[in-house]
């Protein structure tokens, strides 16, 4: 079963997405941004940036802990944007390098939970602390992830 997610809107170019988290803390504007990093061996690498948008400061904050009791729904929405982004940027690779180890562990747990569904669409390479790229294995700790849509 597909996890519940929010409806989102995209900017022209399919690299930025916006949705609103709704919960006890109110309506929180979320942005998902795929920033171009580099091209190597014919693959363009994009970094996944995601967080709460503060319109007053005009900045994105991924350290914010919203506590809006909708974490899974938010992550499912981010995953949906990755699916759409890679459809429009074939051959691209999404780099996920989180700002805190706790956040990385959270992503690991969610990848493990939905692995079969994710693996139908994406190849996942995981970066170890020693700099190795290895396939995803449940229970292992990683520094980050690289997703590539399967052909």
């Amino acid at each position: 079963m597909l996890p519940e997610r929010y409806e989102y809107r995209r900017a022209r170019g399919y690299r930025e997405y916006q949705f609103f988290s709704e919960g006890p803390k109110g309506k929180i504007r979320k942005l998902v941004i795929y920033s171009y990093l580099a091209t190597e061996d014919g693959h363009a690498y994009y970094n996944l940036g995601f967080g709460d948008y503060d319109a007053v400061a005009n900045e994105l904050n991924d350290f914010a802990i919203s506590n809006n009791l909708d974490r899974d729904k938010v992550l499912a929405t981010v995953a949906a944007t990755a699916e759409e982004f890679t459809r429009h940027y074939p051959g691209s690779r999404i780099v996920v390098k989180e700002s805190t180890p706790a956040r990385t562990r959270l992503y690991q747990m969610k990848i493990a939970l939905h692995y079969s569904m994710i693996a139908e669409i994406f190849d996942i390479q995981c970066q170890t602390a020693t700099g190795k790229s290895v396939p995803f294995r449940k229970g292992e700790n990683y520094e980050g992830f690289i997703f590539e849509r399967k052909a």
Partner: protein
């Protein structure tokens, strides 16, 4: 009669255009956002460590 029809067509096409544009949102300018810049640097460092990007 012909003029009325033309106007109606114009009204319809404007409505359609408005509906299409609502699929998108205007992204705020975050090109110098410290969080994004820092995160991109961290991602590049990870790719360098993995040997995907060259060290220079």
């Amino acid at each position: 009669m012909g003029i009325v029809s033309k106007n109606k067509r114009n009204v319809k096409s404007k409505k359609t255009a408005k509906k299409k544009s609502s699929r998108y949102f205007e992204i705020p300018d975050l090109s110098n956002d410290p969080y994004i810049l820092k995160k991109n640097e961290a991602a590049k460092a990870m790719l360098r460590k993995a040997g995907i990007l060259s060290k220079d």
